[in-house]
């Protein structure tokens, strides 16, 4: 883009606006005072006889200065506090994070969780039930002699039946009397 003339000063070989966007970026650097003194002088000499570059530089400098007015807003005073609270939260175990989040959100998040928990408990109960029903007896003596249970049960049932029969017989005259 530059060539050296007889006076050992750099001159522009061609107009930067016609030399592609990348070369024109140097013109931007000139406008933003980011160019080294030597190429900056070369641009200034070029602009003396190039109205297009002169107009470009003037409007670009105006934009550059206008952008200074786009000031940022003040930062919230509790920004760091909030950030460190989040970092602490992340450092805690997962169950603690879930618990804290639920506690912080109040009943809004608890209410829908109640029927969900009930359904889950029910499902768990149904899943466990068949296994417990088919599970082998835990008493080793019973496990060894299943017939023993039947005999005992039969005896107990017969005793119960006998007791009921005696009650029935004893109640019979009273019932007749009531009638």
């Amino acid at each position: 883009m530059f060539e050296v003339n007889r006076g050992n000063t750099k001159e522009l070989r061609e107009c930067p606006l016609r030399a592609g966007e990348e070369n024109a970026a140097q013109l931007l650097d000139y406008c933003h005072h980011k160019l080294a003194p030597e190429p900056a002088s070369a641009f200034e000499r070029h602009m003396e006889h190039c109205p297009a570059c002169r107009a470009f530089a003037e409007s670009q400098m105006a934009v550059w200065n206008a952008l200074d007015e786009f000031e940022a807003m003040p930062i919230s005073e509790d920004f760091d506090q909030r950030l460190f609270a989040r970092l602490d939260e992340q450092a805690a175990p997962w169950w603690s994070r879930v618990w804290n989040r639920m506690a912080a959100s109040g009943p809004r998040i608890w209410r829908p969780a109640i029927p969900v928990a009930a359904v889950l408990l029910l499902a768990a109960g149904l899943w466990i039930h068949p296994f417990s029903a088919s599970a082998p007896p835990t008493d080793p003596s019973i496990a060894k002699n299943p017939d023993h249970i039947d005999t005992e049960q039969v005896e107990r049932t017969l005793e119960d039946m006998e007791m009921i029969r005696q009650f029935t017989v004893a109640d019979a005259p009273n019932s007749n009397r009531d009638m």
């Binding site: 990348e22 934009v63 786009f70 807003m73 760091d80």
Partner: protein
């Protein structure tokens, strides 16, 4: 160079478990990151929320951090990604509709000139709104490039790394962005 060494050194200490070094890094870069994000998304509450995510990511990445690039380049790369994702999620357009109250509030806070007349204040507010809209009207990558170039004074190579593109692509982005801004703002001189 000293800045690079200082930030990288602090980050390496964070990697070794020093939370105090993270607090120093936060104090050094909190402002530039939030201001950059504010100019990107043009809403202070969103900018702060995104900045929180940026610093959380920095902290989470501490174990794998290697000082291969300048710390600020890495930091603004994360910030740019956060902002671009937020904009691309379509949240930017939704927020533009509800932008004015917050901007109005911010404007009155950031120009606390008691000497200025009502007319002068109105002119300033109008200029501010015009600049804000001109920046908002830029395509998101051009916007990010301009903000890093103008306000963070980052070099082309740093912007290129932050935007994940070549240096010549950055020059092209900036040239087109400033061309658009000249068309909209040159009269403000």
């Amino acid at each position: 160079m000293a800045s690079l060494e200082r930030d990288a050194e602090l980050m390496l200490r964070v990697r070794d478990g020093c939370t105090a070094s993270f607090a120093i890094l936060l104090a050094r870069h909190r402002g530039p990151v939030i201001h950059f994000l504010y100019r990107m998304v043009q809403r202070q509450s969103v900018a702060e929320e995104l900045a929180q995510e940026v610093f959380l990511r920095v902290y989470r990445s501490r174990a794998t951090y290697e000082p291969t690039a300048k710390f600020t380049t890495w930091l603004f790369r994360i910030a740019t990604h956060m902002a671009l994702n937020w904009i691309r999620d379509g949240k930017y357009e939704k927020n533009q509709e509800s932008l004015d109250p917050e901007v109005g509030e911010g404007l009155s806070r950031q120009i606390p000139d008691r000497e200025a007349t009502v007319e002068q204040k109105m002119i300033r507010e109008a200029r501010f709104a015009e600049i804000r809209q001109a920046i908002a009207g830029l395509p998101e990558k051009q916007r990010a490039a301009v903000l890093m170039h103008k306000y963070q004074e980052m070099e082309y190579s740093q912007i290129a790394r932050a935007l994940d593109c070549s240096e010549s692509a950055v020059k092209s982005l900036l040239f087109r962005a400033y061309e658009t801004l000249r068309g909209r703002l040159a009269h403000l001189a």
